[in-house]
């Protein structure tokens, strides 16, 4: 059998198997994302992306990725500038007014500070609420993608002979999309809200000292996020290493294009080469890779938004430190630090998803 014949038969098998897989959920997810996000995905449909991976036309477009990321960052900076300017203006005004008071009007100064602080809290809180919603929506979107991709990948893994591997990965990915996501949405995000409220209240007045309480909740955030990540990643990495051993299939580098998957050795087709299994392997890896691209497209804008606002608040706190009340700059700085936990939540869930998909992709790449 010539390599052209094999390539043709392999392509036909791949097309035949791909027609039996329902990818409509991914198309719906992609359609629900904005046009800016679709540009990260290459502007094509999910089906077309898989076809381009299988045909080897998938271009290494890192420069376009970087351009899109930079555009996202600068776009978000422009969006947050008015808010940051407002915070600085109100803080400076507060400082000016308290500087104009005469002796004996300490209470007027405190009222002024309270009002200006209230304005700044409302402005920052409104933005934080939007970012919190963005975070929960993004985590929900990632869960939807996991619910769509894992059954397909596990089915394809079973079709190439990785039955025991499926039994090993199945509970891990189910725990990821169920328990881990729920821990973040039901426990971590409320703890974040409590920590933020403590920061707001703790900086209102010098008499209400809540720094340690706020520190307790932020420590709780760190511990919960760190523990969940460490346990899950350790467990699934160990399982991924042994999964291939149980089935007797080999864990090899993933191949994606039909052309690169024909093991012609010395002019002869390698012994035992099974076109049907090879087709399943190619489809498994192509769907996995397309899924990871969709994952990246889903998280890049929310992460950029949160990081830009966090950095902007830090800059604002730095500007306010010498010229405004210390409580205002403390609050703004603390809010900026808290926002990093939202980034940690999104990136953590995304990373666990990525590792799970990658492990399934590199398992059972026979031949």
């Amino acid at each position: 059998m010539t390599d052209n014949n094999v390539e043709q038969e392999l392509s036909e098998n791949v097309a035949n198997q791909l027609n039996g897989i329902d990818l409509s959920v991914f198309e719906e997810i992609l359609a629900s994302l904005g046009s800016g996000v679709k540009s990260f995905f290459g502007g094509t449909s999910f089906w077309q992306k898989i076809q381009s991976i299988l045909s080897g036309d998938f271009a290494d477009g890192f420069s376009s990725f970087l351009d899109a990321i930079l555009n996202a960052f600068f776009g978000e900076i422009l969006g947050f500038l008015p808010l940051l300017a407002t915070i600085i203006a109100v803080a400076v005004l507060s400082n000016l007014i308290s500087g104009l008071r005469s002796d004996g009007t300490k209470s007027v100064a405190e009222i002024t500070h309270f009002v200006c602080y209230g304005v700044i809290v409302v402005a920052v809180s409104a933005a934080v609420i939007v970012l919190l919603k963005t975070t929960t929506d993004t985590v929900g979107l990632l869960k939807t993608q996991m619910d769509a991709i894992f059954p397909i990948l596990l089915t394809l893994l079973a079709s190439v002979g990785g039955t025991v591997s499926v039994g090993i990965f199945q509970p891990s990915v189910a725990i990821l999309s169920g328990l881990v996501v729920q821990i973040f949405t039901v426990v971590v995000i409320p703890v974040f809200i409590f920590a933020f409220i403590f920061q707001v209240v703790g900086n209102i007045s010098g008499n209400v000292k809540l720094d340690k309480f706020s520190g307790f909740f932020t420590s709780g955030l760190k511990w919960i996020i760190g523990t969940v990540f460490t346990l899950f990643l350790t467990a699934i990495t160990i399982q991924g290493i042994v999964a291939g051993v149980y089935d007797g299939v080999s864990v090899r580098a993933a191949r994606f294009a039909v052309k690169s998957y024909i093991p012609i050795l010395g002019g002869y087709l390698a012994d035992g080469f099974n076109i049907i299994i090879a087709s399943s392997v190619l489809i498994k890896n192509a769907i996995g890779l397309a899924g990871l691209l969709l994952l990246f497209a889903s998280i890049v804008l929310p992460v950029a938004k949160i990081m830009v606002f966090s950095l902007g608040l830090r800059l604002t706190a730095a500007i306010l430190e010498p010229i405004a009340d210390s409580k205002i700059s403390n609050f703004v700085n603390s809010a900026a630090k808290l926002l990093n936990y939202l980034v940690a939540i999104i990136l953590g869930v995304a990373f666990m998803y990525l590792i799970s998909v990658a492990l399934i992709m590199i398992t059972a790449n026979v031949f």
Binding site: N13, N16, Q17, G20, I21, S107, E110, I111, F114, D147, F150, P151, I152, L154, T155, A158, S159, G161, T163, V166, Q170, P171, V173, A174, I175, S177, G178, L179, Q182, I183, V186, P190, F194, I197, F198, V201, I204, S205, N207, V208, K209, L210, F213, N274, I275, I276, I277, S280
Partner: protein, 162 residues
Amino acid sequence: MSNVSIYLLSIAGVVLLGVIIDLILHEGATGKYIKSIFALFVVFAIIAPLPKLLNGDIKLSDLFAVSTYNVDNNFLNVRKLEQAEKLKADSERHLSANGYSNLTVDFSLDPNTTDLRLLLVYVDFTNVVLSQNKTHINKYAEVRNLLVRFLNVEEGKVLMYG
């Protein structure tokens, strides 16, 4: 008004009260104690919903409910049948290459698994065409041996007729 709005307004109310108290209190020995007690009120107002959250809506069975992912058995069965068809064709080609043409090979597959497992192999000799050097040998034994080695099955699983 939603519960979250009520919660936030209650915190804002307690804080406002505290600021007013801070403003109207005379500076004195008891002032700092009153402010400390007030700070405790603020803390209680903030963490007030925690017991309700822990005892109420969050059920541990919901929190630890694990979703399950099932493989698509229809897809796997279709692949199994495709593999079986290909294996049949490859077996017939192998026998033809060894001098036994026009043999029909069929399989009985294990229905309880999505993997390709052969229970029995049937070989139909009705239309067999032997090459010249095969006419004086035991064709059944040789075909059986060829299939046992090619398909990696036990001898007793290969049944021949015709």
